[in-house]
């Protein structure tokens, strides 16, 4: 080889991309061409320098913790989905049984059974939603990370979700005593994007998940307890919300009532 090496050959050389026979040709050329040897060295030095300079940005520990929480949360959702699938299969079986009863002639009973199966399915989904909300609430507390948007101002928090969610919602202007908006996160719950509004009531943290209303979970949530946490929610024409906290149930209901009122303009029904 009498001509100089091309830039492609030089780069392939320093990147270790030359095939054996190509490498032999290039090495032979380098033994007799000082200019190309110098050039190969220069490319090699540049590669080493860009490698060093390119390793420039390091993630925070908080990001890694958050990502690990995301993985755990999603894995939990998958497990719940599997359980729900099992539940659906069982409900289908009940449906078949009801159909047999229909053949026997108990038509009214069968209709009731189908309706009940639908209600059971919705309740099962709602229970799964509650469990997922509690899981996320606990994961957020455990991670002790700052919200993606940190603000006590509803005019900052609400616009932050623009373009991030396929729906919008209102935040109450006035809050109960000793209650403060801390910020918000974009999250996924029950397989759909949701706004996670973070409030504090005294020293208790409250997670309020607001998402689009879905048929399968559209069962009004009454105040309930799960492993020491209180859960309460509401539905409007378009939205579905669920709040989790260990604060006094009455105070949690007060906050949820105000969020409901901000959406619908009326008080949260007590029944």
């Amino acid at each position: 080889m009498s001509e100089h090496l091309s830039s492609l050959q030089l780069n392939a050389l320093v990147d270790g991309e030359l095939a054996r026979e190509q490498l032999a040709i290039v090495q032979e050329h380098l033994t007799e061409c000082a200019a190309c040897t110098s050039e190969a060295l220069a490319q090699s030095l540049l590669k080493a320098a860009t490698k060093k300079a390119g390793l420039r940005f390091t993630p925070t520990d908080a990001l890694e913790v958050r990502l690990a929480a995301v993985v755990r949360r999603e894995a939990g959702a998958d497990r719940r989905t599997a359980r729900e699938d099992g539940g659906r299969a069982w409900i289908s079986f009940v449906g078949v049984a009801a159909a047999l009863l229909l053949v026997v002639g108990i038509g009214g009973m069968a209709l009731w059974g189908r309706h009940q199966a639908g209600v059971n399915l919705a309740l099962a989904n709602r229970a799964a939603l509650e469990t997922e909300a509690i899981d996320q609430h606990i994961a957020t507390l455990a991670a002790n990370t700052e919200p993606q948007v940190i603000s006590t101002d509803r005019h900052t928090v609400k616009p932050w979700f623009q373009g991030k969610l396929p729906f919008s919602f209102n935040l109450p202007e006035n809050l109960p005593a000793d209650t403060k908006l801390e910020g918000a996160d974009l999250t996924y719950i029950h397989g759909q994007p949701a706004a996670l509004l973070i409030y504090s009531i005294g020293k208790h943290r409250v997670s309020v998940f607001v998402m689009q209303r879905a048929v399968e979970t559209a069962v009004p949530v009454k105040l309930s307890d799960h492993t020491g946490f209180h859960v309460i929610g509401f539905i409007t024409r378009d939205l579905n919300a669920i709040a989790v906290s260990d604060v006094d149930p009455g105070r949690l209901a007060g906050l949820v009532g105000m969020i409901f009122q901000a959406q619908s303009g009326v008080d949260l029904p007590t029944k």
Partner: protein
Amino acid sequence: MTPLPWKRMAPTGPQTPAFEDLAIPLVPSLYNLAFWLSRNAADAEDLVQESFLKALRGFASFEPGSNFKAWIFRILRNTYLTSVTGLARTRTVALEDEMSEGGDAGYPEAAIDRQTPEMNLLVLSDRAAIEAAMEKLAAPLLEVILLCDVEEMKYKEIATILEIPIGTVMSRIARGRAALRELLTAEPTQKGVRG
């Protein structure tokens, strides 16, 4: 239809590693690339988190034993491209990239300014100057340099991630390095312009 490279490789066995075990060690690399592409910490974190979620949800389609790193980097890069920042940046550079690339013809030799290694040694010891020069690279050139030099990926892997032919990878690497050398020798005293 030709299967994607990470699907062509045979699974190594019945044991399926957990997503977390494969993905968490790659967070520093993913974040580093995300930051270089998006140019700010908040966007980089969002990009990594969104890519993580997409990868996690699509993990069932990933074949154990194949190239997980290339798979998740491709997800991150595609997520970036569909982001507001990514769309704006790729629109800006796409025309320039297509015009000067001319298919896979390679880099014009005349444009390579051959310098002595001694001169490079002086310039290359200035990390701030290198960072500043890298910041000035167009996104298509920067990403191949990062994947090749920082992540030490093979041309084939880079081609898979960027969804371009290997010839284009080679040409972009040549152009990227030539551009870096030009920036470093033209303005050797401009240290840390934006760093």
